[in-house]
Amino acid sequence: MSKLLIVDDEIDVREFAKRFFKKRGIDVSIASGGDEALNIIGRHRPDLVLLDIQMEGLSGMEVLRKLREEKNDIKVIMVTGAEDPSIIDEANNLGVKGYIHKPLILEELEKIVMKELKISVHAN
């Protein structure tokens, strides 16, 4: 079973995405901040992380930097709001799979996630 980690400080985003992807047979875990995310990644080893850049406390970029420092090449998709282009460049250099811009329709996200997890999307 593919494992997905959703990191976002917005409770609605986390909870509804979790519910949505669970219905698609994915093992979803959630984190509300950077520290919690690193913790879960260490313990749970998800296949894909949806990482919000702007968060209270440890930001998404800081999480990404730490992961790459620890030589962890886990698949990451950044979720961006209105970030500076320099941050996007840095994220690219740190080997992210892509970014999604807020706001995003859930169906679009589904396609991206399914592709990265190599699960074919069918209307079930």
Binding site: E10, D12, V13, F16, A17, R19, F20, K23, Q54, E56, G57, G81, A82, K102, P103, L104, I105, L106, E107, N124
Partner: protein, 720 residues
């Protein structure tokens, strides 16, 4: 003792000779002065001969001086009339009369050498040698009197027709004329054996003096003083030297020469003191009015320079005017730059008039055009007089406008070449006319008022510029908030997108199942989703509302503001620009401190800027100094201090280098690294709002690499 008759002629001689010369020397080319001088010359010849006739001791000698005095007397009315015609400005129209008079004078001048004029001298009343009329003396008298009376009649007619200062002036001359001629006429009865002595002889001097005064006064203002001085000099020295002289004449040849000589010595010694004493008194009296005006003007210019608010300034101007001359009403019309019209801006004393005031004068109004062209004050009576005299239709309109304004005097106010204001003065309460002195005074006042008005207008424009700068700064700040704001709003939309997406997914799979069991759980799920959407909408709405509140102008008025609440609203705005989680904000004040008396939106702007600046300074320190365990902390203290509330804001940011401290409050000066972050207007706006708009105080101190402290004093709601 010399006789009164001789003495009076001596006085007449001194007065006419001196004043004739004086007036002539003032303007040698002006016909008015020249004809007056000629008149004085003939009066001098008459008086000179009169004196020697009176002191004559032999019949032949007396007859000679009699003929000599008549040589002068013949021309007295001729020059008198000529002078009067110039004074009334009708010399050109009456040239025929003038020619006739000079012809008459010349004819009798020659007749004077024959016994046909003065036949002989004989004792009459107290006089040993009074002349007897010759054959032609009666016809001479008829013409001579006719010339005098014609002059008086013309003058009286002119007094009736004229107005204003001119009327005063001519009436004055007419009075002098009547006194002078009545005096002179007393010389005639005895010729015809009517027993009336020439008692009025001395009044000729009165006429000469009064007319000289009028001529000089008409020309110059301060000549009055010089003239008074001269008059007093003559008076004092005639007495001082005349009395011993008279005494000497009486005792002439009697050997008692010691008495007149010693008298002369005594009088000559005290003469200068008497002269100085009288002169000082006279000048004081003359100068008093002038001094009063000068005082008013001085106070006015001082007062006007201090007022920066245009409306109050104009009120003061009309106040000064009504106070200075006690005028019925006064108005100021001010140039409106855009339309070019002159609009009524201040008025005083109009209320008792039961009619509408003129509120606007157009640029092409004849009055405005006139003031622009002639650049001087207009006296209504003079304009009306001019319209009557010259049938000048072009000025009729101006006179009509002045009537509509109920104005007696109008004074323009110029700055450089530009007419910027018009001062309107009603009639004086004492019903007196405006004089040249008034015009001079109000012209100076108008010019000073013009400068003060320009000053106030400049100040108001500057204030406008300041408020525009504050607004621009706010808008620039909103620009820097764009990132934070769009992030916040995106988060709402993003969340709602997920909620809706999941709900749709649930509904679609339910529909596909075609199994409507478990409907309750399904509906619960949808209900929850929708309530979450609603919550996000609410939160999004709050963000937008906060922004709008911040950018809208807000109320201009002052209200009671709780400092805690004010900080909340500033922080709320600040979060759109800065990452509040990066810093610690500490509120070190009691919840129940007195409220601030101020404008909410403006003060929100102040504290937003304070937080923003502190944040940037602390982030800069964090990046540049990279200290271990550095905790960015922003502290707020507030305490009552007398009638004010003292707020101290302390940060432990990077601080300001000493060389930059002075420049901090200068608009557009910034030390912030990225130009995107700062407009350079933050502290400038803080000072404007606190000091200019709230009458408070801002003090900023800073130590580089240590932190900054801002102390703000604001009026509070504390009473007593």
């Amino acid at each position: 003792m010399i006789s009164y008759w001789a003495f009076s002629s001596l006085i007449n001689l001194i007065t006419s000779a001196f004043l004739g010369f004086f007036v002539f020397s003032k303007n040698k080319k002006r016909a008015l002065n020249v004809t007056y001088a000629l008149f004085c010359l003939s009066a001098s010849i008459w008086s000179f001969s009169y004196f020697f006739w009176q002191v004559s001791t032999a019949g032949q000698e007396a007859l000679f001086w009699c003929r000599a005095l008549m040589a002068g007397a013949i021309f007295i009315p001729v020059f008198y009339l000529h002078h009067l015609l110039y004074l009334m400005r009708i010399a050109q129209q009456r040239r025929g009369v003038i020619h006739f008079c000079y012809g008459f004078g010349l004819v009798f001048f020659f007749v004077n050498f024959t016994p046909l004029f003065v036949k002989s001298v004989s004792p009459k009343m107290w006089f040993s040698y009074w002349p007897d009329a010759g054959l032609l003396f009666l016809p001479f008298c008829v013409v001579w009197f006719w010339i005098c009376l014609y002059g008086i009649w013309l003058l009286a007619k002119h007094v009736m027709l004229s107005a204003g200062e001119r009327k005063t002036q001519l009436r004055y001359v007419l009075t002098a004329t009547l006194i002078g001629w009545l005096g002179a006429f007393t010389n005639f009865p005895l010729w015809f054996d009517i027993p009336i002595p020439p008692i009025g002889n001395i009044f000729v001097s009165v006429y000469i003096s009064l007319v000289a005064y009028a001529i000089i006064k008409y020309q110059l203002l301060d000549i009055r003083i010089a003239f008074t001085r001269a008059g007093i000099f003559i008076f004092v020295y005639t007495l001082v030297l005349g009395i011993p002289f008279g005494v000497g004449m009486k005792y002439l040849g009697s050997g008692l020469w010691l008495m007149p000589v010693s008298l002369m010595a005594v009088f000559a010694t005290i003469g200068p003191f008497i002269y100085l004493f009288i002169q000082k008194r006279a000048e004081e009296a003359l100068l008093q009015e002038q001094r009063q005006y000068q005082m008013t003007l001085q106070q006015a210019s001082l007062g006007m320079g201090q007022i920066k608010e245009l409306k109050r300034l104009l009120k003061l101007v009309v106040h000064i005017i009504t106070k200075a001359v006690s005028v019925e009403h006064a108005e100021v019309y001010l140039l409106h730059e855009e339309s070019g019209q002159f609009t009524l801006k201040a008025s005083r004393g109009w209320k008792h008039k039961n009619r509408e005031q003129v509120s606007v004068m157009e640029l092409d109004s004849p009055l405005v055009v006139y003031l622009k062209e002639y650049r001087k004050a207009v006296i209504c009576e003079e304009i009306e007089q001019y319209v009557r005299d010259n049938d000048a239709k072009e000025f009729k309109e101006i006179a009509d406008i002045m009537k509509q304004l109920d104005s007696a005097l109008i004074v323009p106010s110029f700055i450089d070449q530009k007419l910027i204001a018009i001062l309107i003065l009603g009639n004086k309460k004492a019903k007196k006319s405006y004089t040249k002195d008034d015009m001079a005074v109000f012209t100076i006042l108008a010019n000073q008022a013009g400068l003060a008005i320009e000053n106030a207008q400049f100040y108001e424009r500057m204030k406008e510029t300041h408020s525009q700068l504050i607004k621009a700064e706010k808008m620039a700040t909103v620009g820097t908030m764009a990132d934070g704001l769009s992030h916040q709003i995106n988060n709402r939309l993003h969340a709602m997108g997920f909620i809706a997406g999941d709900a749709l997914d649930t509904i679609r799979s339910k529909k596909k199942e075609k199994n409507f069991a478990g409907m309750e759980a399904f509906l619960d799920e949808i209900e929850f989703s929708l309530s979450r959407i609603e919550d996000n909408v609410k939160r999004g709405g709050e963000i937008v509302e906060g922004l709008l509140k911040y950018t809208r102008k807000g109320s201009e008025g002052f209200e009671e503001i709780g400092f805690d609440k004010l900080l909340d609203s500033a922080v709320e705005m600040a979060q759109f620009k800065i990452k509040l989680n990066q810093i610690r904000i500490v509120r070190n004040f009691e919840k129940n401190i007195p409220g601030i008396k101020g404008n909410f939106t403006q003060l929100q702007e102040v504290f937003f800027n304070v937080i923003d600046n502190a944040y940037d300074a602390m982030m800069q320190r964090k990046e540049e100094l990279n200290e271990d365990g550095y905790k960015p902390t922003l502290e707020f203290f507030a305490a009552r201090k007398g009638w004010k509330l003292e707020i101290v804001i302390k940060d432990n940011g990077i601080g300001v280098k000493p060389e930059n401290i002075e420049k901090l409050f200068t608009p557009f000066f910034t030390t912030k690294l990225s130009s995107k972050k700062g407009t350079g207007l933050g502290l400038y706006v803080i000072r404007q709002i606190i000091e200019e708009n709230h009458g408070g105080q801002v003090k900023f101190t800073s130590l580089y690499k240590e932190g900054s402290q801002t102390v703000i004093l604001l009026p509070s709601m504390v009473e007593g």
